[in-house]
Amino acid sequence: MRVIIVKWSLVVVLMAGIAFSMLFGTMALDLNTVWAQGLSAQQSLVLWHIRLPRVVMAAMVGAGLAVAGVALQSLFRNPLAEPGLIGVSSSAALGAVLIIVLGAMWWGSVEAWHMSLMAFAFGIASIGFIYLIATRQGYTDVALMLLAGVALNALTGALIGVLVFIADDIQLRSLTFWMMGSFANLSWNTTYFVGAAMGVSLIGLWWLKRPMNAFLLGERTALHMGFNPRRFKWQVMLLSALLVSSSVSVVGVIGFVGLIVPHIIRLCCGADHRTLLPLSALAGASLLVYADLFARILISPGELPIGLLMALLGGPFFLMMLLAKRRGF
C-alpha cells in the first residue's frame, strides 16, 4: 500500500518536474500568450531541441545513477557503496578526459562514442579493482572499500589535473564539464545514445532483482539459493559501469545521487529490490530533474554546474547518515 502511494506520488512529482523544466528558464514562456497564439518558431526550437532533450537526459541520468547505486550497494552489501564515493565516476571521467585531451592524437576527429567507450572501460576497471581489493571470501571490508575509493579518487584527480595542465584552451573548456557536471549543450543524438545504453543496463539490472535480494543474505546464501555469485558479480559490475560511464561521458561527474536516493527509498519502502529498483529510478530521475531546474533558475541567466549543486546537497546528507549510524540508527 505504502509502496503504491510512494510510486504514484513519485510519478506525479517527476511529471510536474518535467513540466516545470519545460516552462522555466532563461527564456520565459507566458502560458496565456502560448494558449492564444501558439508557440513561435523560436520558442518551439528552444522547447523541443534544447529544453526537452535536456530534461529527458536529466531524468535518465538521475535514474541511472540511483539504480547504479542500488546495484553497487547490493554487490558490496553496504549502503556506502556509491559510484562517486568509491571512485567509479571519477575513473570514468578520467577515461573521457583522456580522450578529450589525447584523442586527437589517435583519431582525426574525436566522437562522443570514443569518450563513452573509454569512460566505460575505466569505469568497469575501477569497479573490478575495488571489488578485488575489498572482498575476501565473499565478505566486503568496508574500510578497505572506502580507502580504495579514496585512493582511486585521489589518483584519478591527479591524472585529470595532469591532463588539464597539458590541455589547450578549447580542450580546457570541454574539460570543465567533466569536473563539475553539466546538462548544458545536449542534443537529441547524445540523448538517444545514452538512452539506449541506459535502457539496456536498467533492464539488465531489473532482471537481476532476485539474485540481488538473495545477496542481501550474503554470497554463500545466494549460492545455496541457486544463484551463481560469480556470474552475478560480473553482471552487476558490467551493468553498473555501463550506467555510470554512459552518464559520466555526457554530463560529467554527478555525485551522491546513488547514495541519497537508495537510502531514502530503503528507509520508507524497505530493501526488497523489486520495489527498491523502480522506486529509486523514479526518485533519482525526479531528484536530478529538479536539481537541474534549480541549477538553471537560481543564478539565471547563468547556470550552476549540477555536479556542484549535488555535492552541496549530498555532503550534508552524507554527514547526517554517518551521524545517524553513530547513534545506532
Binding site: 547490493s74 552489501r77 553496504n78 549502503p79 532476485r210 535480494n213 538473495a214 545477496f215 542481501l216 543474505l217 550474503g218 554463500r220 546464501t221 549460492l223 545455496h224 539459493m225 541457486g226 544463484f227 551463481n228 530503503r266 524497505g270 530493501a271 526488497d272
Partner: protein, 289 residues
C-alpha cells in the same frame, strides 16, 4: 577402505543417497579433509561430530556444492554432484550456515519469503516450478509455524536476538525445500537439509521442538546432515554418525558403532563417560573423571 552408512535401508533409497568417494579438500596445500568415504541416506538424520577445525563445516560445504572437492568425487542420487546445476540443487536441498548476516533491514516474513521464492521459477522445466501466489504463501506459513515465528513476522531481522535470527534463517531454508503436500507419507522424499550447528544460540524449547519436527520430516523421506557439539542431543537425534578428526573420518556408522568410549574420547580429545539413558536406552555422555 570405504565406510558406508547404509544400515537397514532398501535399495530404492540407496539410489537417492549422497556418496563421497575418497573426497579431499585442500586450501593452499593444507588439507582440510582427506580421503573421506561416507554415504548419507535419505530418511535419516546423520550427525557429524568432531572438534573445532575437524572439517565438519568443510564437509557440509562440499555437500552443498559451495566448494568443489580437490580429490575424489561426490555422487548425488547416482550422478556426479558437478553435473547438478546450482539452481536445480536449490530445489532439492536447503543449507543453514552457522551465521548469516543480513545486509539491510528486512522483515522476518521477507527473509522467509526469499527462501520460498527459490522454488517459484528456477529449474530447467519452467512450467513445473511456477508456483501460484497461494502456494508461496502456504510455504512461508508452514516454515514460520515450524520455527515458531508467526508472532515475529513483521519484525526487522536486524533487531532480533541471536536465537531468533537463527530460527528465521532456518525457516527460510525450510521454506526453500518445503513440499507441496506436506501431509503425504513421502512428502519430503528427495529433499535434503544441511545444518551447520543449528542448535547454537537456540533456547532449549526451540531446540527440542525443532528436533521433534525433524524426526517427523525424516520419516517422510527427508535426509538431514547436521553438525553438532551437543553429544547427548546427537545421540537423541542421530540415526548415523560421522566422527571426524583432523580432516579424516575416524569412524562412521550407526549410533551403536560410533558412540564407543575410546572412539569418542579420541575424536573429541576429551575424557568422557558413557551411561545409558534408563528411559530411551540411548547413550548418555558425560564428562568423565
Amino acid at each position: 577402505m570405504a565406510v558406508f552408512l547404509d544400515t537397514a535401508d532398501s535399495l530404492s533409497t540407496d539410489a537417492q543417497a549422497i556418496e563421497l568417494n575418497a573426497v579431499g579438500f585442500c586450501v593452499a596445500s593444507h588439507a582440510l579433509l582427506r580421503g573421506v568415504n561416507v554415504r548419507f541416506l535419505p530418511g535419516q538424520i546423520s550427525v557429524i561430530l568432531g572438534q573445532n577445525g575437524a572439517g565438519k563445516t568443510t564437509l557440509l560445504r562440499l555437500l552443498a556444492k559451495e566448494i568443489l572437492p580437490s580429490d575424489g568425487r561426490i555422487m548425488w542420487a547416482g550422478r556426479d554432484l558437478t553435473h547438478h546445476s546450482l539452481s536445480s540443487l536449490a530445489l532439492d536441498r536447503g543449507v543453514l550456515e552457522q551465521t548469516v548476516d543480513v545486509a539491510f533491514s528486512l522483515t522476518v516474513e521477507q527473509v522467509v519469503s526469499l527462501g520460498a521464492e527459490v522454488g517459484a521459477d528456477v529449474g530447467a522445466n519452467f512450467a513445473l516450478h511456477v508456483d501460484t501466489k497461494a502456494r508461496l504463501v502456504a510455504r512461508v506459513e508452514a516454515a514460520l509455524t515450524a520455527c515458531d515465528l508467526q508472532y515475529l513476522r513483521q519484525r526487522d531481522v536486524l533487531t532480533l536476538s541471536g536465537g531468533e535470527q537463527k530460527r528465521t534463517q532456518l525457516a527460510r531454508v525450510l521454506a526453500q525445500i518445503w513440499p507441496e503436500n506436506d501431509q503425504q507419507p513421502n512428502a519430503f522424499a528427495g529433499k535434503w537439509l544441511f545444518l551447520d550447528e543449528w542448535t547454537a544460540g537456540l533456547d532449549l524449547k526451540h531446540q527440542l521442538c525443532l528436533g521433534t519436527q525433524m524426526q517427523g520430516w525424516v520419516k517422510k523421506g527427508l535426509g538431514i546432515v547436521m553438525s553438532l557439539h551437543d553429544l547427548n542431543y546427537a545421540a537423541q537425534l542421530a540415526h548415523t554418525c560421522v566422527l571426524l578428526k583432523k580432516g579424516e573420518v575416524l569412524q562412521a556408522g550407526t549410533l551403536a558403532e560410533t558412540f564407543k568410549l575410546p572412539l569418542l574420547n579420541e575424536a573429541l580429545d576429551a575424557v568422557l563417560r558413557i551411561e545409558k539413558d534408563p528411559i530411551t536406552q540411548k547413550p548418555w555422555v558425560l564428562p568423565g573423571l
